[in-house]
Structures are given as structure tokens and as C-alpha cells.
Symmetry: C2
């Protein structure tokens, strides 16, 4: 168990502390937390996706994104959000829309944990994504990872995402159809 960075268990705790130190969302007022939760409930997204990436340990990874949308005519608001969540997240323009996106898992986890009591519409989704984030820290085998992928599938019940290409079945088939790589498993034990 020397490779804690790989394993992620301890790393997770340390990272949590790091994020809390930088993003002081705990100190936000009730008004601020309520506002952001209300805004996300109304027009934000908590997205979890399975992404193919051969360089990753499990050949896929889970991307969690917290996204705020706004017409680019109100781009100033997107910049204000960025300032609020500094140093996390990035801003992008897509046609007439502006987005502020946070993908750093530690930051998303901290934000969702803190806002969880404030959500109404996306409360169940928030809980599920928090589970995913926690589970990810404990993943040690392909089987563990697959279980997390199944939870990612479940988030579709709470979102209006149409066509998910990569589901847990997709990952499973990929694992079955490729030569078994046991090296990682061995390294864990």
C-alpha cells in the first residue's frame, strides 16, 4: 500500500483539507449559499460522465462538472462567479452562451457538500454525485471502478441528458473484450 497517490484513500482526505483552505465556502453567508443553490437548481448542471482515456488506470475516468450557464450578454455575471469560486473553474464562450465550469473534483466535492442542504430540485442528484466522488477515492480494482460507473449511469435519472454514449455497460464490454491487465491489481495487493 505504498502507492497512496494511486490508491487515493489518504490523498482524498489531504486534498479535502487543501480545498477547504483555499475555497472558504463554509464562510459564505446563508444568503450566498442559498443563492448559488437556487441558481444551480434553476439553470445550472451537475454533470457526471464516463470518459474514455487510455492513459488512465481504468482506461476510463469519471468527469464531474459543475456548470453555470448564462447568455453572453451577461458575461459579467459568469466572471463574477469565477471570482467567487477562485481559483477553481474556468470560463468559456460557446456561441451566444457563456459558461463557468468547475471540474476539479476536490472543489466540486467541497461545494456540493456545503450546498447539499440548500438544494431542493437537485438534492438527490447532488447526493448521488457526492457518493460517486467518495467512491472514486476508494476504487482499487476494475470491478470497483465499474460499480462507480453504474452510479454514473443512475445520474441520468435526475438529468435531462439525452444520449449517453459511454455507460457502465460500455466500460464492462471494453474490459471483457481486451486482454486482462492484472498488473494494477497486483500492485494494489
Amino acid at each position: 500500500m505504498s502507492d497512496l497517490n494511486w490508491n487515493g484513500n489518504t490523498e482524498g482526505r489531504i486534498k479535502d483539507m487543501k480545498y477547504k483552505k483555499i475555497l472558504k465556502i463554509k464562510d459564505w453567508t446563508e444568503q450566498e449559499k442559498g443563492y448559488i443553490a437556487g441558481f444551480i437548481d434553476g439553470d445550472g448542471s451537475i454533470i457526471s460522465q464516463i470518459v474514455k482515456d487510455k492513459t488512465h488506470r481504468y482506461k476510463f475516468y469519471i468527469r464531474i462538472s459543475l456548470v453555470f450557464y448564462q447568455k453572453s450578454t451577461s458575461h459579467w455575471f459568469i466572471l463574477q462567479l469565477q471570482k467567487k469560486f477562485k481559483p477553481y473553474g474556468y470560463v468559456r464562450k460557446r456561441g451566444v452562451m457563456s459558461e463557468f465550469v468547475i471540474v476539479e473534483k476536490g472543489a466540486v466535492k467541497l461545494i456540493l457538500e456545503e450546498l447539499y442542504p440548500y438544494f431542493i430540485l437537485k438534492k438527490n442528484l447532488c447526493r448521488l454525485v457526492l457518493e460517486i466522488l467518495k467512491d472514486l477515492e476508494e476504487v482499487e480494482t476494475n470491478a470497483d471502478f465499474l460499480k462507480v460507473c453504474e452510479k454514473v449511469d443512475k445520474t441520468a435519472n435526475y438529468t435531462y441528458s439525452k444520449n449517453r454514449k459511454i455507460t457502465s455497460d460500455f466500460v464492462k464490454n471494453d474490459y471483457f473484450n481486451s486482454p486482462v491487465e492484472t498488473s494494477f491489481k497486483e500492485a494494489d495487493n
Copy 2:
């Protein structure tokens, strides 16, 4: 100045008190006010429109609506909002969308006054609509009414509404092209 009901000045104040007594939004927590403001900023609408209506004193009237939208799969949330704003507003389904709409001017005024400090994106729009609501209480002549209509035109700067059919110009032309009705003006003096 006997016809205070018509005139609206005193009536406005009395109505304000009535609404405050019924909708105790002042007692909401910071979290609740923040949440509702955030939700409206994200996915709600504060709409003002000039509506043609021959039975009205000025042949048109101003409709102010506070609207919350949600996919009908989350209709429960719309019902929860209705409960929160009880007895004001009504719920309607439009295809796959559910809406909760408040049009009672006294209620909208009270809500906007209370949430004004909490808005970010729709703060300027909120201020303008509050001005319109206040001005409406003071309207005594067609000219006064036209000035309010011009403010309604201005709200278009803050919304994404596409084709407004009835603008202040429309109202003005209508006034010029029809026989002048001075009876109301005389009654006011």
C-alpha cells in the same frame, strides 16, 4: 379626488399592507430569500407587458408576471413553490413544461421589494419593474399611463423577449387615432 379607488394612490398603500399580512416573505430566512432570488436569476422571469383591453380605463393595462419554469417531470417543485407563495399565483402546464405564475400586482411588488437585495442578474430589471408598479399607482391621465408604457418598453433591455407587439408607440398611436376621451381626466380634477 373623491375616487381614490380609481386613482389608486391610497389604495396602493392599503393593498401593500394587505399583501404583507398574508404573504409573510419578510419572515423568510436569508437562505430562502437567497434561494428564490438565485432561482429566478437562473431560470425565472420578471415580465412586464402592455395588454390591450377596451374595458380598462386607459384602453390598455400593464401586466406584471413573476414566472418560475420547470420541466413537468419536476412538477412537485412547482407545487412546492405555489405552497410557499400561497395564496398567490397559479400553476399551469404547457406541454412538457410546468409554470408557476404570480400576476397579483401587490404580491409581485412585495416579493420584488423583499428580494431586490438578493438579486444579482435581474437586479436592474427588478428595480425597473418596481418603478413601474409604483408609477402605476400614481397614474391619473393617459399621459401618465404612456410614461409607464415607456418604462415597460425599457424592460426589453434586460430580457430576451423577442417580438413585443404592443409598445408605448402602439399605445400612443391608438390614443391619437381615436376620439379623445376626456371624461376620465375631468373626473380626476
